[in-house]
């Protein structure tokens, strides 16, 4: 009798399609244009000052090749966070769209599923196009690696999407997002191995960095792009991200269930 997760999520297709039509233009700028600035500024221009020593750059022959896989992974995190902060609070607090949805046969878990599917779609288009654009620059060492790198970018993006979604459902004031951006997203972006090898952090901080989900995504993405895959490390990276996604899923559903009974 109860509606399956997929069926419930599919009923929201028309809704998310209108959201897409409304937001894709802004998405183009934040998804493609700004990251390309990063690639040019950091990878090409700043990278010009950095010696391309594979021994120091985790096997990359240029700083550009080193930074690109990390940048895309960090970008995936930022898109995921962007899509699960203000939009989620909006659906709860400002537009109350979720309240109209749960008056129908849909349940909170259906709303979470559809919303996360939309985030996945945003991640896939943003990271996919980003990777395609970078292909001609000779930063990929094998033909198949970038596809697996793309998969790991989606994984790390979804890990953050589920975690932050659950956080947002428990947040009553948008001021909390400022804290999340400054104390969460920014340090993660800077110190999780996207811009420099985490071995430079010193032994203690290196281990802290290894505990962050973003590092697991950056590491996977880079190993696949540079064809330096250590399969046992890769297995651990994937396992960590999958566990985060599963835990994040339950954290999100329980958060939304509680929140929708308590306005």
């Amino acid at each position: 009798m109860s509606l399956t997760l997929a069926a419930g999520a599919l009923r929201q297709t028309d809704y998310w399609w209108t959201v897409f039509k409304r937001t894709w233009k802004g998405g183009v700028i934040s998804s493609f244009v700004s990251p390309l600035f990063y690639v040019v500024a950091m990878g090409v221009l700043l990278g010009g000052f950095i010696e391309g020593d594979p021994a120091k750059l985790e096997g990359a022959t240029s700083y550009l090749a080193f930074i690109v896989p990390g940048l895309v992974a960090a970008h995936a995190m930022q898109i995921a966070v962007g899509e699960t902060t203000y939009p989620v609070m909006g659906a709860l607090k400002w537009h109350k769209t979720y309240y109209s949805m749960i008056a129908t046969p849909l349940e909170p878990r259906h709303l979470v599923a559809a919303n996360l599917m939309f985030v996945l779609f945003r991640l896939a288009t943003a990271c996919g196009v980003f990777m395609l654009v970078l292909a001609p620059f000779g930063v990929f060492e094998s033909w198949w690696g970038p596809f697996l790198a793309f998969g790991s970018q989606l994984l790390v993006g979804m890990a953050f999407a589920t975690l932050v979604y659950g956080f947002s459902t428990r947040l009553y004031s948008e001021q909390g997002f400022g804290v999340l951006f400054r104390l969460g997203v920014l340090p993660l972006t800077l110190f999780s191995g996207a811009f420099f090898p985490i071995t430079n952090l010193g032994p203690v901080l290196e281990w802290v960095a290894r505990l962050t989900p973003l590092w697991h995504g950056v590491n996977l993405s880079r190993m696949f792009c540079l064809d330096t895959v250590d399969w046992s490390t890769a297995a651990i990276n994937v396992a960590v991200l999958v566990v985060v996604i599963v835990v994040g899923w339950f954290w999100s559903v329980s958060g939304l269930e509680k929140r929708l009974d308590d306005r």
Partner: protein, 307 residues
């Protein structure tokens, strides 16, 4: 259609609904009348199967909301107290998208939406943004939206609050037509005229409890007299004269002493006024009227409804 026994709802320590028994039968219009904070909306959200009950039992359309929530909601129409229309969508899309949530096929939703826009006289506005609608139009759109799945049971939480008298009458007329069509209505309101106009049966709710139950006529007969004499006296000095005057007319009927007037409940209001004058009292204004639900409420709770 609805059967509640000892129904409770708590938010943390606070108990908003403290054990109520309710039965709503097929085809009737049932009302919850009560002041702000009485627990009407909390009750409605439990009936709408979006808010888990905290105690007692609740059965809707023969099902248990805890386990059959989706099946129940598929047959309900809900018009919440606060509008939950999507401001980013136009009028028509608000109905269309909502209909899709019920799993109704596209073609069927489309024709249903056209019918409903016609029904609530918003066909001309179908491409307008929701933001540009007046309060009354938004309310009508919310009602149209609640009907998109052809519900058996329609829940309306303060459908006319904030509307001007004309818009209210238009809405009442629409609700009346729905009732004629066999839809069971559950309405909350703090307007007694609305309750009298629309409801076959109602409960008076106050502080999370039911204070009385019956048809509007029954309630008035049971808890009030046929007529009420309202007396206003000039305020001559600092002290409110109403308390002192009340002492002199206690025997004329049950009294309610309000800050601005005294109500005397009696089968014959004119006789009360004549006696007041006989006793040398000189009210600046008098009025005799029939008892209303407002009086029932005052008697039951000691407070006026709209404060």
């Amino acid at each position: 259609m609805i059967r509640a026994r000892g129904l409770r709802k708590s938010f943390g320590e606070f108990e908003a609904v403290k054990g109520i028994d309710v039965d709503v039968r097929r085809g009737e219009a049932f009302g919850f009348l009560g002041p702000n904070g009485a627990g009407k909306s909390s009750t409605m959200r439990m009936i709408a199967s979006v808010s888990p009950i905290s105690g007692g039992s609740l059965e809707i359309l023969g099902m248990d909301p805890a386990t059959d929530g989706p099946a129940i909601r598929g047959r309900l129409g809900v018009c919440p107290q606060e509008d939950t229309l999507d401001n980013e969508l136009n009028v028509r899309d608000n109905l269309y998208i909502y209909g899709r949530y019920f799993g109704i096929p596209k073609g069927e939703v489309n024709s249903r939406v056209d019918e409903l826009l016609e029904f609530v006289s918003l066909t001309e506005k179908s491409r307008s943004k929701v933001e540009d609608l007046s309060g009354g139009m938004k309310r009508r759109l919310t009602i149209a939206r609640s009907l998109v799945n052809n519900p058996d049971l329609l829940l309306l939480d303060e459908p006319t609050t904030g509307l001007d008298p004309q818009a209210r009458h238009v809405l009442w007329d629409q609700l009346f037509r729905l009732k004629q069509a066999g839809v069971t209505l559950v309405i909350t309101t703090h307007y007694m005229d609305e309750a009298e106009q629309l409801c076959d049966r109602l409960v008076v709710m106050d502080k999370g409890l039911i204070a009385a139950e019956g048809s509007p006529r029954q309630l008035i007969e049971e808890h009030s007299t046929r007529e009420v004499a309202e007396l206003r006296f000039a305020i001559t000095d600092e002290t409110n004269p109403h308390e002192a005057i009340a002492g002199k007319i206690e025997d004329l009927g049950r009294l309610e002493v309000l800050p601005d007037r005294i109500l005397v409940y009696s089968p014959d209001g004119e006789e009360v006024i004549a006696k007041v004058h006989e006793r040398g009292l000189d009210p600046i204004a008098v009025l005799v009227r029939r008892s209303t639900l407002e009086d029932v409420f005052l008697k039951l709770t000691g407070r006026t409804l709209v404060d």
